[in-house]
Amino acid sequence: MRKPRWLAAVVPLSVALVITSCGGGEDDAGDEGGGGDPQKNENTEISIFGTEPERPLVPGDTSETGGGKVIDALFTGLMDYDPVTGEPRLANAESFELTAPDEYTVKLKEGWKFHDGTPVLAKNYVDAWNYTAYSPNGQQHASFFAQVEGFDQVNLEDPDGDGPKTSPKPPTDKLSGLTVVDDHTFTIKFSQPHAVFKTKTGYSAYMPLPDAFFDNKEAFLDKPVGNGGWEFVARVPGQELQIKRYEDYQGDDKPKIAKVKFRFMDADAGYVEVKGNQLDFLDTLPPSAIAGNVWQSDLPDRADVAEVLAIQVISFPMYDKKYQNPDFRHAISMAINRQEVVDTIFEGTRKPATGYGIDKLPGWEPGACGDYCEYNPDEAKKLFEESGWTGPIEITSNADGGHKEWVEAVCGQIQNTLGAECTFVPVQEFSEIREAINAREMTQIYRAGWLADYALVENFLNPIYRTGGSSNDNGYSNPEVDAKLAAADSAPSEEEAFALYHEAEEMIAEDMPAIPLWNNPSIYAWSERLVNVRMTPKRELDLSSVEIK
C-alpha cells in the first residue's frame, strides 16, 4: 500500500481539534433526566441488532460492522472518541506525547487488566501491532501501520497481486519503530512525521492482544479476550453473541447495564421486532420502514435520526478512457436533481451534498462544489453534447440496502435530462463490485460510499482523492490537488488549514472524479424499556450510557 505523505505541522491540528458535531443528533425526547432502574440494569439482558461477523473476532482482522460492533465492546484502545462530540480522548493511555517530530511516547494507565486477569502492558500493544503488520499473518489492517518505521521489513507486497506466485517472506516480524521502554511505556517512531497517528488509535486496528492470544490462538478464537468494558460470554454462530460487563474495568466509560446480546438477523425482521419490543435496539432502519415515513407513526418516541460520518457518491473509473472527459462528468452531476431524489426516495431524511465533506465537520463550509452540484438540465445537456459521449450510460451497485431504488431514480433523471439511455446494472453482493474495483477493472460508473474513520475533513479527502491514497480506488491523480492537500496538512493554524482544504475541494470539483450526492444519516430505533439511548458517530449504540427502566 502506498503511504500517503503526512507532513510535520499537523501537530497543532490533531491535538487542538474540537469537534462541534452532535454525534447523537437531536436530544432524544422522553429520555431526559430519568435514569434507569438499577435492579434491571444489573439483571436484564438487552438485545441489539447485529450482523454475523465475517471474520474471526481478532481486532486486527475485523473491518466490517458485524464484527466491529463486538470488537468495539470487547476492546478499548489507547484513545477513544467521545460518544457525543466524536472528539478523541485518552482511554487506555495515560499520556500520548510527541517527543520528537517523528516519534510518540505512550504511557499506559496502570491497573488495567485483560478479561483473563492478566495486566495490560506495553508489550501487549507492541506484540499485537507487530502481529497485525506482519504480512504472512494475513491481517486486514496491516496497512494501518504503513507509516511506522520498519514497515517495509515486516510487510512485503505480493509481486503479482492475487496471482499464483506466493509472496516472499519478510525479513523480520517486528516493526523496528516500536520499542518497549518499560512495563507501561513504549515509543512509536515513524519513517516520516505523522502526528495524526494519535487520533487514529481509537480504531480497531490498534487494539492490544493478551499473551493468551499468542499462547493458544484456537482458544482465543473460541473465546476472545479483550481489555474493554465488556467480556465475551457465548456465541451461537449465525444467531447471536452474548457479552457481559467486565467488573474490573478501569476505564471512564464503564457500562451501567450488565448484559447484552447481539442478535443477527436482517433489518426488516429487526424493525418488526423493535416495534414489538422484542429487540431493544436497531441502528439502521430498513427501507420498508422508511417508505412513507411509517417509522414516525409506528415508533413515536422511540426513533431518531443521527448524523453519521458518511457520504454517498458515485464514482467514475478514471482509468477507463471513456470517462476521461470532464464535461461528461460535470454533465452527469448537473443532470441529477438531488433534492427530488431525497424527497421521493428518502422521504426527505437526507441532505443534498454541496461539497466533498459533510456538515458537522469542524471548519467545513458547504458549497465547494458550486454549480457543478446544482441541478441544471440545460447546462447539463449542453456539456453532454460537447463531450461527444455515445452509447448507453451504466451505473452499477449492489441491489440490496435500499440502493436499487435511488440508483434507478438517479438513472431515470439522467436519462430524462440528457436523452441518453441510462441503465442500472445491479449485482447481488457488494463483494462482486469490490473485486473489480480492487483490480481497477470497472467499466461502469459505480456507487461508492465513504464512512470516515474519524471526524476530520482531511479523512474525507486524503485517502480518496490524493494520488496513491489508501482508498483512492478510481485512479484519480492531480498533482495540484496533491500539493494543495499537502499544504493544508502542514498549515500553521486551523483556520488556514480548513481554508486550504476547502480550496482543495473546489479543485476536486473541477475535475469531478466522483459525484457527491448526499449524506448518509442513520435512523435508529429502540424498545420501550431503554433510556439514555444515543448513537456514537460509528453508528453503534453507546453501551456506556444506556440504561433500562
Partner: protein
C-alpha cells in the same frame, strides 16, 4: 389407446344399408370421418365452460403480449419522480410506482416476457424430456437405465436451489439485455424440469410399446424411426401435452418467484415478479403497486392451469 387407423364407420357405410339390420347405436355416422382420440377430445373441450374461459383469457394475453401498443400508449420505462407512488387515476389506471413509471403500461409490457418465459421453458422441457423419454422407453436396456439415473440425479436437485445456483453463474458472467436474460432464465427452468417430462414420456412409451400394432409393425419390418414417429409419438403425446399446459402455468409462477428473489428477470425486461418484489417495502403506503401485477400473475397462471385441467379431463378415457 385407440388406434387412429381403425376406420370402423367407413367400412359399414360402404355396404348397402338394406342388406343388414343395423342397431341404432351402430348407425353409420358422417361417412369418411374417423373418430380419433383427438377429435373426441376437441369435441369434449368445446363444451366445457372452464376451457372456454381459460381459452379466452389466454388468447387475450397472447394478443397483449404480441401487440402491447394496442393497449397502452405510455412508455413502461419512463421515470418521473414527481409522480412517484401516485394512486390510480384517470390518467394512469393502475397508478404509478416508486420511480414514477406507469404501472398499467408495465403490466401490459410485462405480459410479453412472462408469457415468453412460460412458453419457451415449457417447450424446452418437453423437447428435452420428450426426446430422452422416448429414447429411453423405446430402447430399454442399459440406455434406459442410464438415462433414468441421469434423470434422477437432476430430479434430486431442489428446484429453487438449483435455479439460484445456475442463475448466479450466469449473472456473474455479465449477461445484459432483455432477451439474453430471458434466455438464461428459460434455460435454467428447462434444465431443472426435464426429468418429469422424461418420466411421463417414458412410461407412455413403454406402455405403447406393448401394443399389438407396434409388434405388428415390427414384424412387418418397419424401421425403428418409423415406429417411433408414426406409432409411438402420437399416442404418447397426450399425457405430455397435459403436463406441458400445467407446467406452463407453473413456469410463469416460477419465473415470478425467481424475479422476486432478485435473480430472475430484471430491467430492461419488465416482469410481474420484479414489480411485486419492488412493491415489498411500500405495500403499506401504496398497495396498488402490489395489487395489479399480482392480480395479472394469478390470472395468467390460473388460466393455464384451468386449461391443463380441462385438457386432461378431455383426454383421459377413464373419466368419460
Amino acid at each position: 389407446m385407440t388406434d387412429p387407423t381403425a376406420a370402423a364407420t367407413g367400412v359399414t357405410a360402404a355396404q348397402p344399408s338394406e342388406s343388414y339390420v343395423v342397431g341404432a347405436e351402430h348407425a353409420p355416422g358422417k361417412p369418411g370421418k374417423p373418430r380419433s382420440l383427438w377429435s373426441d377430445a376437441w369435441r369434449d373441450l368445446r363444451r366445457r365452460p372452464l376451457f372456454i374461459i381459460a381459452g379466452a383469457v389466454i388468447t387475450l394475453l397472447v394478443v397483449i403480449a404480441l401487440f402491447p401498443g394496442l393497449f397502452t400508449s405510455a412508455d413502461p420505462n419512463l421515470k418521473n419522480l414527481a409522480l412517484s407512488r401516485d394512486a390510480p387515476s384517470a390518467d394512469a389506471w393502475f397508478g404509478y410506482d416508486l420511480q414514477g413509471r406507469d404501472i398499467y403500461a408495465r403490466v401490459i409490457y410485462g405480459t410479453r416476457w412472462s408469457l415468453l418465459v412460460g412458453v419457451a421453458a415449457a417447450l424446452l422441457t418437453v423437447l428435452i424430456g420428450g426426446v430422452l423419454g422416448i429414447v429411453a422407453g423405446f430402447n430399454g436396456g442399459w440406455l434406459d437405465g442410464l438415462l433414468s439415473r441421469i434423470g434422477e440425479v437432476f430430479f434430486g436437485l431442489p428446484f429453487v436451489l438449483g435455479a439460484i445456483v445456475i442463475l448466479s453463474m450466469f449473472r456473474n458472467a455479465g449477461v445484459r439485455g432483455a432477451l439474453p436474460i430471458v434466455g438464461v432464465v428459460v434455460v435454467s427452468l428447462g434444465v431443472l424440469s426435464w426429468p418429469v417430462a422424461m418420466r411421463i414420456m417414458r412410461s407412455a412409451a413403454i406402455a405403447a410399446k406393448q401394443q399389438d400394432y407396434v409388434k405388428a409393425a415390427r414384424a412387418l419390418g418397419a424401421r425403428p424411426s418409423r415406429i417411433v414417429f408414426k406409432h409411438l409419438l402420437p399416442n404418447c403425446l397426450a399425457p405430455v401435452l397435459v403436463y406441458a399446459t400445467i407446467a406452463l402455468g407453473a413456469f410463469v409462477g416460477a419465473e415470478a418467484t425467481l424475479s422476486f428473489l432478485g435473480i430472475g428477470l430484471r430491467d430492461p425486461a419488465v416482469s410481474w415478479g420484479v414489480m411485486i418484489s419492488d412493491s415489498r417495502n411500500f405495500v403499506r403506503v401504496a398497495p396498488h403497486m402490489l395489487l395489479f401485477p399480482a392480480g395479472f400473475l394469478t390470472a395468467t397462471v390460473l388460466a393455464f392451469v384451468m386449461l391443463g385441467d380441462a385438457v386432461r379431463e378431455a383426454l383421459d378415457p377413464k373419466l368419460r
